[in-house]
């Protein structure tokens, strides 16, 4: 069984700065990590390989330092890695990212499952996985808590609030994995050493046979108008005391005082 895992390299900070022109993240000088949720996706793929055999390929689009994330994934035990790096890919929104990844999937050709993390901690759109499934015309099974392969079909236990759903689809299919599922393993030391002996091919637009205007910022239908940090409003906090009815009455009175009611 051949599995492809899509990963994203994200900044390892909670506060980031933005390029006001493009609305893109400024990554310079900020340490990067594999998007935490994507590590769950890698772990899911490794466990499926351990049960069903086959090969796990990890793929990532990003600047040249994305190689670091791919090496880390190899260190966790994936078999091979593919890097998508070119200046034409820069500034991609979720659509352009899914388009580029989709072309790469077509180039890879043979796969049974594509697994993604549910969402990235920087953008938090949770769109790339589903968009990639749409682009490739694959069944999509999102928010997976558990994955198993039975009789050439994939079954996913999905958590939706208080509901658990059991989904089944023919393969190939695309799955997105929840943060709580498949806690990533500690990269074994011998696999880390092997990871640095492996070659990582770098694919560029010419390798993907795509439409140039669909790549990167020019191919992105989402245009960020403005990125800003909301201003915090400072003021005094007044605690209303008493029983529920009394406090409600006082609260209504305060709202009237301020002409809110």
């Amino acid at each position: 069984m051949n599995i492809i895992v899509c990963i994203k390299q994200v900044p390892d900070v909670t506060e980031v700065s933005w390029d006001p022109e493009t609305g893109s993240l400024i990554r310079k000088g900020i340490p990067s990590i594999i998007n935490p949720n994507d590590k769950n996706a890698i772990e899911a793929a490794l466990q499926l390989r351990e049960m069903n055999g086959g090969e796990v390929t990890v793929i990532s689009m990003g600047p040249s330092q994305v190689e670091e994330a791919l090496r880390e994934a190899l260190g966790m035990g994936v078999d091979r890695a593919i890097q998508l790096t070119a200046k034409q890919f820069a500034g991609s929104d979720t659509w352009a990212t899914a388009y580029t990844l989709g072309l790469a999937m077509k180039k890879i050709g043979q796969y049974d499952l594509i697994i993604c993390g549910k969402e990235a901690i920087d953008g938090m759109t949770a769109q790339v996985g589903p968009q990639l499934a749409e682009y490739l015309g694959l069944p999509q099974l999102a928010y997976a808590m558990h994955i198993e392969v039975v009789d050439s079909k994939v079954r996913v236990k999905q958590k939706l609030g208080d509901l658990d759903r059991l989904l089944e689809a023919p393969m190939p299919a695309l799955i997105t994995v929840e943060r709580e599922a498949y806690q990533p393993r500690v990269a074994p030391m011998d696999t880390i050493l092997e990871a640095y002996g492996k070659e990582i091919p770098v694919w560029k637009p010419d390798d993907l046979n795509g439409e140039v205007e669909n790549f990167g910022l020019t191919g992105s239908p989402t245009k960020l108008r403005k990125v800003y940090t909301p201003k915090l409003i400072k003021g005094k906090i007044e605690m209303l005391e008493g029983g529920p009815e009394d406090v409600a009455r006082k609260f209504i009175g305060k709202l009237k005082e301020k002409y809110i009611l």
């Binding site: 670091e68 090496r71 260190g75 990269a187």
Partner: protein, 382 residues
Amino acid sequence: MDFNLSPESKMMVKAAKDFCEKEIGPIIDEIIEKDDYPDDLLLSFAKARMLGLNIPKEYGGVGTTNLNTILITEELGKTGSVCAYPMLMNNSTAETIDYWGSEDVKKEFLPPLCDGSAYASTAFTEPGTGSDPRALTTTAVPDGSDFIVNGTKRYITGGNKKGYGVFYFKDEALKGEKGDVTAFIVDKSSEGYTTSAPWNLMGLEGMNCVDVFLNDVRVPGSSILGERGNGFKILLRWIAGERIQQAAYMVGLGQAALDESVKYLGERVVGGKPMGFMQGFQWMLAEMKGRLEACRYLTYRAACLQDEGNAIDIDSSELKVFVIPAIQEITRMALQIHGSYGYSKEYKVERLFRYAAHAGVVASSSEINKTIAGSALLKSRR
């Protein structure tokens, strides 16, 4: 010597940090409370391939450098606990077996030490001796192709855990000769092998350090490590490597003490400002950091010397003479910075301070290392 760590070294350190957070952090308190570590801890180390780090792959090891091993050990030291002891003991014992053992010995004993199915021990110390081979009283008497061993070994880490230990005995057949100590690999489940309850040691709760009682234990001659009569030489080489490993662990511990201090000084408020604004504390931090970096690079240097195939007996002694008191002082300063909280078991620095205290007497005392390093200087003048 290149002070820039390779990307794979950095990733190994990252993996070791990840291991500490996932596998060690959640069980530290339980280990201290129960004064025992869980049996599957060694298997967790094996799964992360942290056993047999510098053992060749053909015997089940990872085959990496001493420097990488030291970097991983440093990360484990930041936990300031005995949790890494089973791993450290397996690695140093396996390295000794790999260096001195015959092909058959390596094939038999290295794989279980690398896959976590056996806990290693090293047993030289006895109730009446810690460093003097002439004072050993445990004996090995030939009996056909086997040996019968008798006596008591003291402070044997993991002596009560299943697996193998390198034991040093007076070889009775060599009595009167210059070298009469022979190293044997003893199966800790042998008939006649029993242990005491663990010693209650300051800062080392859960280390499983026991006395071992050997009562007519039969050990096959095929379990002899190296040449007969060469035991003390084997011990000295093992203990030199142990000193570097210990220094790395202590560097990690010192880093943890510094990190805790920086955090505390940034959070504790005095006169409306974080306490770190006071110059006196800034000076303390600067001293701690300077000493720590010196210890770190001396330790890396010693590991690089090992990787280059140099003898490290003198250098590792010099390392111990410098590193151990420096780190002990760093933990003392960390405790002082924390004031009364530093004495509370709720705060990590209390554990770091107690843990650091053992390093001056374990893996040969600081004083004996001064003698080794100092006398070497005088010998070099002759």
